[in-house]
Amino acid sequence: MGRIVKPYLGVVLAFLYLPIGVMILMAFNRSALYELPFTFDLVWFKALLSNQRLMQASWNSVWIATINAVIATILGTFAAYAFARFEFRAKRVLQLLLFPPITIPWLIIGTSMLIFFFWTGIGRGLHAILLGHVALSLPYVVVVVGARLASFGPQLEEAAATLGATPMQVFLRVTVPVLAPGIVAAALFAFAVSFDQFVISYFLAPPGTSTLPVEIYTAIRKGFTPEINAISSIIILVSMGLMLIVARLYKFGGDQA
């Protein structure tokens, strides 16, 4: 049994990484039609730099993901703190309310946002996309920060309070520093959720304005271009890099104590 485990895991990993590897390879291939033999060339990365639409969409995506990370981390940390340090009647209900944004299919969430935002005059656009992304990121932030909060009791905070710190001082000088790795992990997580989000952005993006995934989808539907390979390779490497950092700060389900 033990002998077939590693080869099997190898096959599973090969399946997971095969398409990603092929895509990255093709981004460096000169042929526009993905033809072999492979000839190394940076032509598609150069083409990318002069593609105004893709550059603008990338810029939008980075900005939205950054602002989303800031807002979601602050709001989510507050809520997680309330859940960890107070007992109150509505707590169970509030915690349950975090599930709909991540369990209802995005298609349904996205179309309902489109209807509501259009109807109320909030409209479509980058602001609407940001509104939606924060909603999707919040549950993750609450869970990640909550896990960190659960790992240390309120004793440190009580000690500080006994020594004369005001509640604000306790929060900023004790709670936040101890929570820092959890907060950073949550912020990176929120950034990734927003940066990778396609479905909701797709419904909330008006013609002419878009985020990177929406722009890529439009390009794929119109026909393949190797520039898309180049930008997709960059995206996938950036988001995997981000997640490696998060994993260092916060162990997901691994051998955590």
Binding site: A135, F198, I216, S232
Partner: protein, 271 residues
């Protein structure tokens, strides 16, 4: 002001911003969509609209809707089953036969792609499935793309519950005369059921609602409920019908969860 009031202010102050945001972006939009699904026209641009049930009725009357809803459910069943068939052994191997740094490294490698862009990963399959495989724009292509997208979920949830099983339990079964297969069937498998059920739930629901993967990989085989709903919003502009179909999909999802919940509760009670 007394301590209890302070406490209430603190709780409300800490939770209100997040929940007002969620109300504005999730709760109210879902209510708005429910309202729209009962209207003849979108109540915008000066249209007079009236109450109607015709959008829901058409789901049952027109074959294109209920048949494609079934196709979505069928797809979700295929994808969920394949993810578990491939993912459970991987999780078992990782949890029980690989140790130390190898385990950590492989675990990380499995969940890494899962956190990268789903659209880009789907797109990357178009390069593998074209010639000479010639699978692009077929039904199997949709399944391959979706299994690729959700396999890490299955491995992750199964791994977490398998890893929590005390090896002493399995050793006890073995020392009492159980074969390796018996020990697995009577001890390991039942104890890992919460992870399996979590995987089913986490894969089934989003796959029913998928539209991007079928559209990119499926060609003419992409016609199922997700893409049809998307079409009502972005091509046909029949929002009330789209809303009604969305709610029907949500109801199907809820019914499936409800049907599974006694099973789920029994599992939770046992552990």
């Amino acid at each position: 002001m007394n301590a209890a009031q302070h406490r209430t202010i603190a709780i409300v102050g800490l939770t209100a911003p997040a929940y007002l945001w969620l109300a504005l972006t999730v709760l109210l939009p879902l209510c708005a969509m429910l309202y729209f699904s009962f209207l003849t026209f979108s109540p915008m641009g000066g249209h007079e609209s009236e109450f109607t049930l015709k959008h829901y009725a058409s789901f049952f009357e027109k074959r294109i809707y209920w048949y494609n809803a079934w196709r979505s459910i069928e797809l979700a069943m295929y994808v969920t089953t394949l993810c578990l068939v491939v993912g459970y052994p991987a999780a078992l191997g990782l949890a029980k036969y690989v140790k130390g740094r190898w385990r950590e490294a492989i675990f990380l490698l499995i969940i890494l792609p899962f956190w990268s862009n789903a659209l880009v990963r789907t797109f990357s399959w178009t390069m593998v499935l074209r010639e000479p495989l010639n699978l692009l724009f077929t039904y199997p292509a949709i399944i391959i793309g979706l299994v690729h997208a959700y396999l890490p979920y299955a491995i992750l949830t199964c791994y977490i519950s398998l890893q929590a099983i005390d090896d002493a339990l399995i050793e006890a079964a073995r020392s009492l005369g159980a074969t390796q297969a018996q020990a697995f069937r009577r001890v390991t498998l039942p104890l890992s059921m919460p992870g399996v059920l979590a995987a089913i739930f986490l894969i089934f629901v989003p796959v029913i609602g998928s539209f991007m993967e079928p559209r990119i990989l499926g060609g003419k085989d992409a016609i199922m409920l997700g893409p049809i709903i998307e079409g009502q919003f972005n091509a046909a502009f029949n929002w009330p019908l789209g809303a009604a179909l969305s709610f029907t999909m949500l109801t199907i999802v809820l019914l499936i969860i409800l049907a599974a919940s006694p099973l789920l509760r029994r599992q939770l009670a046992r552990t």
